[in-house]
């Protein structure tokens, strides 16, 4: 069990690294967010759960942390993406389509 946990942690930390790499390498905010959200979320999730696995006493609490990250990271990623778009951060030159441009809801005119 301990070994399994350590492996999970290892995989997690690799993903954390990949997340960082994606953030660094990708060409625009939106692509960076893709990497930043997916890899860091999974990486953190695995690392934290891995700790829980190696220390069964801690499992429940690590689960809560992990789930919290799983729940909130996409939300903040989304909020950042949306905000960037509204502020006018340019899409990468190689972007093939922008449906947002001609869509009302993107400009925040939606009624509550």
């Amino acid at each position: 069990m301990e070994i399994f946990g350590d492996v999970v942690i290892g995989v997690g930390s690799v993903f954390l690294f990949l997340g960082g790499l994606g953030i660094f390498r990708f060409p625009d905010v939106y692509n960076r967010l893709q990497a930043g959200t997916k890899c860091t979320t999974l990486g953190a999730f695995l690392t934290i759960i891995g700790v829980g696995i190696t220390k069964p006493d801690w499992f429940l609490k690590t689960l809560i942390i992990a789930v919290f990250i799983l729940l909130t990271n996409p939300i903040s990623a989304h909020a950042l993406a949306r905000a960037s778009y509204k502020v006018g951060v340019k899409l990468w030159a190689g972007t093939v389509v922008d449906r947002c441009k001609d869509f009302e809801g993107c400009r925040g005119t939606e009624e509550e």
Binding site: F15, T37, K61, A77, R99, F103
Partner: protein, 170 residues
């Protein structure tokens, strides 16, 4: 449709149960002091927060819904792992093979919670990131655009999750 007060009680109880469970997980013990305190706190917090927390109350606990939830979790995780491998591939590839764009997809989910779950699921899965929701439309940033048509995009991106989510939340 149940009466408003009944619904309110139901919402309250649902919130209470979720909060108390959270508490017990947090404290990681069943010592009587902790349970008692947790009950009191969950009850008070639920009183403040139940109107925000849920619209449907205890009906979330329907067996069918739980069933869908149990199925959904592995499905979701599998998609997440695929997504990450995909990103890893693109990040590590020297040429960085990406073809990003923002596409529009449709959803049939009506509840806010459903839409949130769908949006989050999409964000965490292969090459997609929810940028905004407007009514039934989701705007998705797609790292490797395969189709710009809404119908096709919806099929490719959204419908994997929607089935289960509809089951969990309807």
């Amino acid at each position: 449709m149940p009466k408003k007060s009944e619904r309110s009680v139901s919402r309250y109880l649902f919130t209470f149960v979720v909060l108390l469970s959270l508490w017990l997980i947090l404290v990681n013990t069943l010592a009587w002091e902790e349970v008692l305190t947790g009950a009191v706190l969950a009850a008070s917090v639920a009183a403040i927060g139940h109107t925000y927390f849920t619209r449907r109350g205890l009906s979330h606990f329907g067996p069918k819904k739980l069933f869908y939830l149990i199925i959904y979790i592995p499905v979701f995780f599998w998609e997440v792992v695929k997504a990450n491998l995909d990103v890893a591939y693109r990040v590590l590839h020297p040429k960085m093979p990406i073809k990003p764009g923002i596409v529009l997809i449709k959803t049939e989910l009506k509840s806010d919670t459903g839409k949130l779950a769908l949006a989050n699921s999409i964000t965490l899965t292969p090459g997609t990131l929810t940028m905004d929701i407007a009514g039934d439309n989701l705007l998705i940033h797609w790292i490797n655009v395969k189709s710009t048509e809404p119908e096709e995009a919806t099929r490719l991106i959204g419908s994997r999750f929607e089935r289960y989510l509809r089951g969990i939340l309807s």
